[in-house]
Symmetry: C2
Subunit: 371 residues, 2 copies
């Protein structure tokens, strides 16, 4: 953790290649905790001639690299030298060059550059969204996806008095739920086609746990409410328009455990009929690594120091929503407004850090293509 | 041809996305002419459950897009709806985002966006050089490669009195030949592993034909000699150092037909033993599209107009060699020197265009994994 944190620190000012991974130490920790589920699954997957893995919504591959490297090491240490194809998928605009370089040891942590460190590993990429089928029928041994499927394939409406569906009104929430249910079915049906019989799809997704907790909302301040409050403040100050306030709507849905389970619990659903069964479904909290580091280093870190590590990690994945909400603005105006927006959050945390954090709330599912 | 040319024209000033393809209309024409060879091969390849294609050294996929689209259309028009996976390979630094967008119809000519226009097509990328094995054993139905394998995996030496192996002295040429032979064996052995039994590898490579002709050397001025002459002129003028002159050495080898054939003609070679046989080997000249356009439009085009279309196409693939030859220079100096270098060529062609062109000389090989 310390190493990860230090890496994150040293690259805080570095945008561009590797930026996403460095900013998302927590996402990495959540993945690392899932390794056991994958190890267990691999013990029961039928033995095919080749192993075909996929990492859906992988971004630059940085957050899951260590996990995949560990899994491959376990396979090889057992004397299993089968050829392994691993397909990384994300949108076409994804930084596949950094991804390929990372696995070859030309970027990032060479200790986990598994393409270089092990034999017979073939790393491929796919620039098509995971709402579609991405490879041939009956070819995938084990699919994995981390922190990616909360993005819905289209935004069903703008949210009028908030920025995120967790704060939407009932009718807005209904539209998001409908879209998310439809997407979840599409995602699963396509994975069902791709998987070999006995293959597994293990995913950890942002969601809402049994206690109603979700990302940045685990007891203290609620991150998305803060985004909303500060964005509204910019409207109140006349810095952005009401339409720009409304435009900032995350194209995301945090599914509840029930929503995730629904197609499996219904034996007549298209998902169940396609052969998929749910082996396990659990929720998991991964504490904000920035918060932990701050609490362990209060003697040397000021609240402002903490704010200046916490807010950038939030900014890394949320910034585009606020940038794109702005209408007919110059690049310079956009930069100024968005800087101002995140600085409000930094100021608030600097004044009183208590209860501010970005804890992760994941729903871990182990899905089998049983028949 | 005219359409292609116009597309090329309109984007002459556009660098970045699609730049490579727009500048390489001739490379595209050469590929289009190879389509028949691929069509013929597909008629005899054994019928597998899925079709797996690969395009080795594809760059952004633009030059071969129409050809692949035509091939897929022919397959589908026959009522063959098998799933098709196509793997595009190039170095990790390649622009895979433009490639993926192109096949999905988000970039370039949507008429040939085959992933969008046909069903059950899965487009994947691989950022590892083709000197290595890039996918599982016994999985590739048909591999293709155009104008890519003249790059040797490492530069065996710098060339002292020229910029390209076609102008190197005997001892230098020997080193390049040795490297190229070794690379060719490695390339073929890896394709042999990847191919299914009965699968085909069809490649069109820059090379030297039976009459000693090669790229930009088909009877008139010799392009690489001109590069060399102008680069030497900059040295003579004190603009670059002698070391910088020498540093400009293309990491390329133009193989002769004999060199391409050698491992097949020897039945005891590792290639032959691996099961590869050569079905056909031909040379092909593709006339410079800029030259043709100029000859057809002499009434409206000046020699200078011609020079200003011809030299950029040369510059698109050669510029990095000259940039990287410069030592301890600022970006601004590098730009100035390289602009000056290509302007010398523009001036020469503007003064007398006769005999200046970049005709393509390819060796087309149809290789079968026979056993």
């Amino acid at each position: 953790m310390t190493d990860t944190y230090l890496n994150t620190q040293s690259s805080l000012s570095m945008k561009g290649s590797g930026y996403y991974s460095a900013k998302t130490a927590g996402a990495k920790n959540a993945i690392d905790k899932t390794q056991k589920v994958i190890e267990n699954a691999l013990q029961t997957i039928p033995s095919n001639e080749i192993l075909k893995f996929a990492d859906f919504g992988s971004a630059d591959g940085g957050t899951s690299q260590e996990m995949w490297s560990n899994i491959i090491k376990i396979i090889r240490d057992k004397g299993d030298n089968r050829q392994i194809e691993i397909l990384y998928t994300d949108l076409a605009s994804n930084d596949f060059s950094t991804l390929f370089k990372t696995m070859q040891g030309m970027h990032g942590n060479a200790n986990f550059a598994f393409q270089k460190n092990f034999k017979n590993i073939y790393v491929h990429g796919c620039g098509t969204g995971f709402h579609e089928q991405l490879m041939s029928d009956d070819s995938l041994t084990l699919g994995f996806s981390a922190t990616a499927m909360h993005y819905v394939s289209e935004r069903p409406c703008l949210i009028e008095n908030h920025v995120h569906m967790t704060g939407a009104n009932e009718s807005e929430k209904k539209l998001f739920t409908k879209q998310a249910n439809k997407d979840w079915e599409t995602i699963l049906l396509n994975r069902s086609k791709e998987l070999i019989k006995g293959g597994r799809f293990i995913c950890i997704n942002f969601g809402i746990d049994e206690q109603g907790r979700c990302l940045g909302n685990t007891g203290g301040h609620i991150m998305f409410n803060n985004f909303s409050k500060n964005w509204k403040y910019l409207e109140d100050q006349g810095i952005i328009s009401n339409q720009e306030y409304i435009n900032a709507t995350f194209t995301q849905h945090y599914r509840t455990v029930e929503e995730f389970r629904a197609p499996f619990d219904n034996k007549d659903s298209a998902i169940s009929k396609s052969g998929l069964i749910l082996k396990s479904c659990e929720t998991m909290i991964t504490e904000c690594p920035y918060k932990i580091h701050y609490l362990n280093n209060k003697n040397t870190m000021s609240p402002q120091d903490y704010a200046r590590t916490l807010i950038p990690t939030m900014r890394s994945w949320s910034e585009t929503v606020f940038r794109n909400a702005l209408v007919d603005r110059t690049e310079r105006e956009i930069n100024e407004i968005v800087d101002k927006f995140y600085n409000l959050y930094i100021d608030e945390v600097s004044n009183d850090p208590e209860g501010h954090a970005m804890d992760y709330v994941h729903v871990i599912m182990d899905i089998e293509k049983a028949y």
